[in-house]
């Protein structure tokens, strides 16, 4: 490939990632100040990118007056996360939740309502009631796209951001992107940047061995985490992995949140319930894993007992929304919900605050530790944030960025850094032979499964670090024969960064916490004396991975000690199990 062109543009607010939180950040920044130059950069195409590519079948965490209060929600998520939460950020989300639902409703996102026109909220969580179904939720992206067009927001599709820029004073200064079809370079100088690149969903290897058969949208491979890390931002509690229950082999949701309110439930091979509550938490995943490992596995989703009309309704929701191909998957295997339970499994590991808790540190204003840099959605550290959290925190980040960029000038990018980044990005195109991105990615992710997945064992994680260091040397042999392969070659570098962060963060926290997510065999107890704190990981001045503790801020919603253990009592007692 000959050397691609470099173009430079300027923006007031640059949003990276046009999935869920990203478009909302761009929309709210522009609504806050229509004169701002807002640019939305997307690796794929905003029309169909991200986790909600095909819509969503419900809001998992709606805080709606009459059903729940923001304080109840904050309490529930605090307990589900063993107390390690930045409550102010949870409360900011919860306070914005209802307004965002009404805003989306106004834009024509359709939620389930009862006969009186009120939102029909359902109970799935252990304690409160927060699930709002969206049986017609397949058009969410269309609604967002329409609003982006209406506000004339500058959208740049098919550019993958590779690194963030910082000004001499340490403030954020923009980002570098590369076109995934031409390898053209783009330097975007910006006063503020909102990161919304989704989960690190291509970290472990799915049991099927298919690299793109992930739970998360496979375009989300941890680029955002890697970019934040290299820009010096802190990442929080990465050892609190994301591990999801899912349809075995298909690797997508089965989905207990939809079927639960209709009467579906998770069962063992005897058809018996073994957990009290299907809401995902580390404790729930621990019980799920134990059941899989016991003679009672596999685990299934059972709907056989439901009325035919109910099953018909469930099929309409599950097979036209979110992951519509699951209907096709079941049909081929002859799995009819009426007669057969759906075999389930647990996923490979990833980082995702949408479903779990870890990511780039973001406070109640979506601010990271780098001035002018915001992070939202699955890649930011606000726990159990799901789709509505990405929207609400996207909105907060958009407004904050709009405010901040009015106060600051445009930093000058460092020419040396730009040249170095261009050399790093293009290196795989300069080789005629070497290692393909496919094989390097496969090996990295296979090693993640072998050595980093819980139960976590110190000796294994150290071996992982040795293997990852060897692969890091192999990066100098990566070869890309076209721009598409170059995108994959860059992605594998993000994946390796995330694998290294997962190992380092897991080794740092010498206790067990969050059920299965951080189950350390060498330190099986929870140690509140030493570890009731966030762990922060960041790149130090010498370019090494460094760690520090951050105290948990005093709670804005008090939780008493007796309530704190609610999520640790999820297993149904054996006598009850038979009932």
């Amino acid at each position: 490939m000959s050397d691609p062109e470099t173009q430079t543009i300027e923006a007031d607010v640059l949003v990276i990632g046009g999935g869920t939180g990203g478009p909302m950040a761009a929309i709210r920044a522009k609504e806050a100040n229509p004169n701002l130059r807002v640019v939305l950069l997307e690796k794929a195409n905003v029309k169909r990118s991200g986790a909600i590519s095909m819509g969503m079948d419900g809001l998992n965490n709606a805080v709606i007056p009459g059903y729940a209060t923001p304080e109840q929600y904050v309490k529930e998520i605090t307990i589900a996360n063993d107390g390690i939460v930045h409550q102010k950020a949870l409360l900011a989300y919860a306070n914005g939740s209802y307004d965002m639902i009404r805003y989306l409703d106004k834009l024509d996102v359709r939620f389930e309502k009862d006969g009186a026109g009120d939102y029909a909220v359902r109970k799935v969580h252990h304690m409160g009631t927060y699930v709002l179904p969206m049986p017609e939720g397949h058009h969410v992206k269309k609604v967002l796209y329409r609003q982006l067009r209406r506000l004339r927001i500058g959208v740049i599709n098919r550019y993958m951001a590779t690194r963030l820029l910082r000004g001499a004073d340490g403030r954020i200064g923009g980002a570098i992107g590369v076109n995934t079809r031409t390898s053209e370079f783009l330097v975007i100088r910006a006063r503020t940047v909102v990161l919304a690149c989704g989960a690190a969903g291509r970290l472990g290897l799915p049991a099927s061995g298919y690299l793109f058969g992930t739970y998360e949208n496979a375009a989300n491979c941890g680029d955002g985490h890697a970019m934040a890390y290299h820009a010096g931002a802190a990442l929080a509690n990465l050892e609190c992995y994301q591990i999801n229950p899912l349809i075995k082999d298909y690797n997508g949701p089965s989905c207990a949140y939809v079927t639960g309110p209709f009467g579906g439930y998770t069962a063992n091979n005897k058809g018996n319930r073994f957990i009290e509550c299907d809401y995902w938490s580390g404790q729930m995943m621990l019980e799920f894993w134990r059941e899989l490992e016991s003679g009672n596995g596999p685990v299934f989703l059972n709907m056989r007992h439901l009325a035919p009309e109910t099953i018909g309704e469930i099929e309409t929701i599950l097979h036209s929304n979110e992951r519509p191909s699951r209907g096709r998957f079941h049909a081929r295997r002859g799995t009819d919900y009426r007669h057969r339970m759906v075999e389930m499994h647990i996923s490979e590991i990833g980082f995702c605050a949408g479903h779990s808790a870890s990511g780039v540190w973001a406070d109640e204003r979506a601010q990271t530790t780098v001035p002018g840099l915001y992070a939202v959605g699955d890649m930011a550290s606000v726990p159990h944030n799901y789709m509505l959290g990405a929207f609400v925190n996207g909105a907060i980040a958009g407004q904050e960025a709009a405010r901040f960029c009015a106060e600051v000038d445009l930093p000058m990018p460092d020419a040396e850094m730009l040249a170095a980044e261009q050399a790093r990005v293009l290196a795989p195109t300069r080789r005629a032979d070497g290692l393909t991105p496919f094989e390097v990615e496969y090996k990295t992710r296979r090693l993640v499964n072998d050595y980093l997945a819980p139960p976590k064992i110190t000796a294994k994680m150290r071996i992982a670090q040795e293997r990852f260091a060897e692969i890091r040397e192999d990066l100098d042999s990566l070869v890309a024969r076209d721009p598409h392969e170059l995108m994959r070659a860059l992605e594998v570098q993000s994946i390796l960064d995330c694998a290294d962060m997962a190992a380092a963060a897991s080794l740092y926290r010498t206790e067990s916490r969050w059920g299965f997510y951080h189950f350390r065999v060498d330190y099986p107890e929870t140690d509140n004396d030493d570890w009731f704190c966030h762990s922060l990981l960041c790149k130090d001045a010498e370019g090494r991975m460094a760690h520090r503790k951050r105290a948990v801020d005093s709670y804005v919603v008090p939780v008493d000690a007796t309530e704190m253990t609610a999520y640790q009592k999820l297993r149904i007692a054996p006598a009850q199990e038979a009932a």
């Binding site: 029309k47 061995g209 096709r328």
Partner: protein
């Protein structure tokens, strides 16, 4: 290290008789989040170029002529 080709069946199939890429359509290529579809200019039809599919289905749902069929990739079928 020299490279060898590594063939695989692809999950997404395009019906060339229905595809109107020759008239300028690129919808499926535009929407794919993994960017794995392309247009074969000689045949005037879309096709799956890379076996890197999330079986998410925008290509099938958004195709104006119903030419695309998404199958579940063989390894996880």
């Amino acid at each position: 290290m020299p490279l060898a080709a590594h063939d695989a069946s692809v999950p997404v199939v395009v019906d060339e008789a229905k595809c109107i890429a020759a008239k300028g359509c690129t919808v499926c290529v535009d929407v794919c989040p993994l960017d794995v579809l392309a247009i074969d200019l000689v045949r005037g039809s879309a096709f799956m170029k890379y076996d890197e599919c999330w079986y998410c289905m925008p290509c099938e749902v958004d195709c104006p002529t119903g030419a695309v069929k998404v199958n579940i990739p063989y390894l996880l079928r």
